[in-house]
Amino acid sequence: MTSFDAIIIGGGHNGLVAAATLAKAGRKVLVLEAAAEVGGAARTEDFAPGFRVSSIAHVLNRLHTDVIKTLELEKHGLQLARSDFMPSVALSTDGPPLVLHGAYGEVLTGSTPSEQAAWKELRAQLLRYAGVLKPFLSRRPPDLGGMSLKETAALGQTALALKKLGKEDMRDFLRVLLMNVADLLDEQLADTRLKGLLAFDATLGSHLGPRSPTSLLGLYYRLAGETGGAAGAQMLPKGGMGAVIAAIRAAAEKAGVTIRTATPVARIIVEKGRAVGVTLDSGEVLRAKAIVSAINPATTILDLVGPREVDTGFVRKVKNIRMKGDAAKLHLALDRPPQFTGVDAADHKGRLVVAPSPDHVERAFNPSKYGEFSPEPVMEITLPSLAGPSLAPAGACVLSAVVQYAPYALKEGWGTGKPKFLKAIMAQLETYAPGIGKSVLHAELLTPADIEANYRMPGGHWHHGELQADQMLMSRPVSGWSGYETPVEGLFLAGAGSHPGGGVSGAPGLNAAKRIIAMKG
């Protein structure tokens, strides 16, 4: 039997990044993936005959530079060209849309000169402030219990970065840090369409409305990501998100990683407080020095390890991780490309956002607090087949949209709720792209309940845990255990549930692998 230094549970992008990084450092690594294909929520899959789509994650905006460099992803087929940066289009029912071009609105069109000036200033400020937080993402969170000299120095650098902002900016940074996004936008902007777009982006993927305290953090998190060296830039990977996975997989395999798909893990074997291996669903037992779980932290601890092998306080913390998804994913197979009113051909390749105003986003959020979906949902629409014709038959088109808000625990249940929600979404789409309903060949709506079932994401939450202030940094996945280790010696967490969090970044996987290497694990 071949023995491995590390077994990675979960072949999502973070698992593959961790595997490749460890393998590059000389470890013998095995990746176990439950599904038939690697990639997790970043897969590109068939959803109708001849139609393919990026299943959950569809926009690339934060794949970490260190991941690209460490794994040499560009050598393995990853393409990140500035020309692929996609605009963000704030759709409008009255008049032409407002468009943010380049890397998150280097140029703003469709608004007044005074608003353009205001945006330029706000954008610069947002990027400055996000820049202070950015270094945290590529590092293990500070260990409050016993900080090493290196960690203290790194924290000192952040203090220095703060100081470099200057007195006024530093005060303002601290003032706005935990603000709600709506209030900040009202301070600086006038155009409700622009404010609606930013309010949507700040709350995308979280159980927050624009007026919920701390909602601005979501925007910082977004802008702390970069693509092709440009902060806030976003693109549709050619061939779908699966192409990114293919590049990471190629890097992993080149480094010598063994990948076994359709191999679900049943248990993590713990002996004398130490993780020593895994038992597969098939009953097969595999042993390794380090067990790295790149799946959900709650699943890892409560199901695979089991509460008996860890302390009560830790179980309490893990059970308290909030992870009820509030976003649905819509896939439409269309017989022809849709025409969004007032949007030109180039912008159809962009990110088309239905979020007419912060009020509209807030109103869409309100019912979700009480277990109901938004009657007028907000959404981020992409048409990936326009740039990647391989995704749809000739002349046809794929629409991929993230739709909010769709509470995981829908009061009436998704069985009856789903068709009603789809109807509400189609009504919204019809408003912005008249005639689209008639071109639908096939519609697939993934509610959080579906996402949970299909992608093994408890609560159907893409981030494997709400990405809010109380579940970030030293508190992710739980306080006291944010450094990728767990109370079970030899067991590490490397998924989106760990710091810095979700999105196709690879950062949790990379950070975890670096930690294991540093610990000589």
Binding site: G273, G306, T312, G313, V315, R316, P487
Partner: protein, 419 residues
């Protein structure tokens, strides 16, 4: 019509909720609850010297604390332990559950046995100590000083076990002293002579059963009896009647406290601060820091605090030690500061008496390591003796000695002696 019929039950329900609320409203008028034995205690309470034990009215003394103490050592003292927190833990995983929660190996605790144990939080700090009664393979009773239901329920995640607090439902008595066995035998508990130390068994009583264990908190021959609350008074009367010629006396806590100190036993939140009560970070204690290290069983499976305890031992992070002291003279050193070389503060006495049995001035103290651990020479206590409104400061030499301070053969003798 349909509406009318719908309304009626809901109106009745509202009414019953209102009634229940009204009934509960005056709860604050009873500042301290009575135990099931309260009518008997009240009748005997000549000193009216009460204290608050976990919300119950419990006697410090009933008639004379000196004579109550001597009842324990030369007759039989009857002490109401009903306020002690009790949990009924039942289910196929009860053993595995308790093995994970507590320090000792519960798989070694056979049905019909009792052991003294303790339990810790994730950081290895002691949440409480208590006794675990194994009534059957799947039914156990955990008795403790503090309340722990949320902790126990959260600890039960992943175990097939039910946990119920039964403090109110189950009344308890401790019958302690040389004649305690004879009292029970004379009361008609046939077969009670078979009980060895830490054994328990059920005996018929008043149409039901009473659980009797040969356990106690005095270091003496003694028993503890647990009975459904509604059978409490008949049990009391049965014992008092049988014990009349054996010198049975109801006693209060002051007497018991002396006896337990002689036996070298510690009391949670008197000799150490339990983890959930401690506000100051340096008040938390690991088992090794309060003399409970012997309970830790690293050979068994995972238990709460294991990782932290192993790490603290390996990295020598244990900061305190609990010791028995023998102090020169005869003035009790209660809450005296302990010094090294008469000037460096190294700890505090948490309990102290002149021991009538040991004929020694004894104390339990917590010291900062290495004092009391590897450095045991030249220790002193500073006693403030009040002499007619003036403190007389006494610096007395203290010697670290083994606990218990007294060892009575009758405690463990089999069969128990008939006095």
């Amino acid at each position: 019509m349909a509406q009318a019929t719908h309304k009626k039950p809901s109106a009745a329900k509202t009414n019953s909720i209102a009634l229940a609320r009204t009934a509960a409203q005056s709860h604050f008028r009873t500042l301290r609850l009575g135990t099931p034995f309260q009518p008997r205690l009240d009748a005997l309470a000549r000193t009216q010297d009460w204290y608050n034990w976990a919300g119950y009215r419990a006697p410090h003394s009933l008639w004379d604390e000196e004579l109550e103490y001597f009842a324990i050592r030369s007759q039989a003292g009857l002490f109401d332990i009903s306020p002690m927190t009790k949990y009924r833990i039942e289910g196929p995983d009860a053993e595995a559950f308790l093995d994970r929660v507590t320090l000792r190996d519960v798989t070694k605790l056979k049905p019909g046995r009792v052991h003294y144990t303790a339990w810790c939080d994730d950081e290895g700090f002691v949440l409480d100590d208590g006794t675990l009664f194994r009534l059957s393979s799947t039914h156990l009773r955990l008795c403790s000083q503090e309340r722990h239901l949320p902790w126990l329920l959260d600890s039960a995640i992943g175990f097939e076990v039910t946990i119920e607090e039964e403090t109110e439902a189950v009344a308890g008595l401790a019958l302690q002293g040389p004649t305690s066995f004879a009292v029970l035998r004379d009361a008609g508990f046939a077969g009670v002579d078979k009980l060895k130390v830490f054994d328990l068994a059920e005996f018929p009583h008043d149409g039901g059963t009473v659980t009797i264990s040969r356990t106690g908190f005095t270091g003496d021959l003694g028993y503890e009896l647990f009975v459904p609350a509604e059978k409490a008074l008949s049990l009391w009367d049965r014992l008092m009647t049988a014990g009349e010629l054996r010198g049975i006396r109801a006693i209060g806590y002051t007497a018991l406290n002396r006896a337990r100190l002689e036996a070298g036993l510690i009391v949670a939140n008197a000799d150490f601060t339990t983890a959930e009560h401690a506000i100051r970070a340096d008040r938390l204690r690991m088992p090794d820091e309060i003399g409970l290290g012997f309970m830790i069983d690293l050979a068994k499976g995972h238990f709460n605090g294991r990782r932290a305890i192993v790490e603290a031992r390996a990295k020598r992070k244990l900061r305190y030690v609990l010791v028995g002291l023998e102090i020169e003279g005869n003035i009790p050193a209660e809450h005296a500061i302990v010094y090294h070389k008469k000037h460096q503060e190294v700890g505090l006495v948490s309990a102290a008496i002149w021991s009538p049995m040991a004929k020694r001035n004894i104390a339990i103290a917590s010291l900062a390591r290495p004092y009391g651990d590897t450095m045991v020479e030249d220790l002193w206590v500073e006693i403030y003796a009040m002499r007619e409104l003036q403190y007389q400061k006494l610096m007395k030499r203290a010697k670290v000695v083994a606990r218990p301070f007294i060892k009575l053969d009758r405690r463990t003798a089999n069969p128990p002696a008939d006095f």
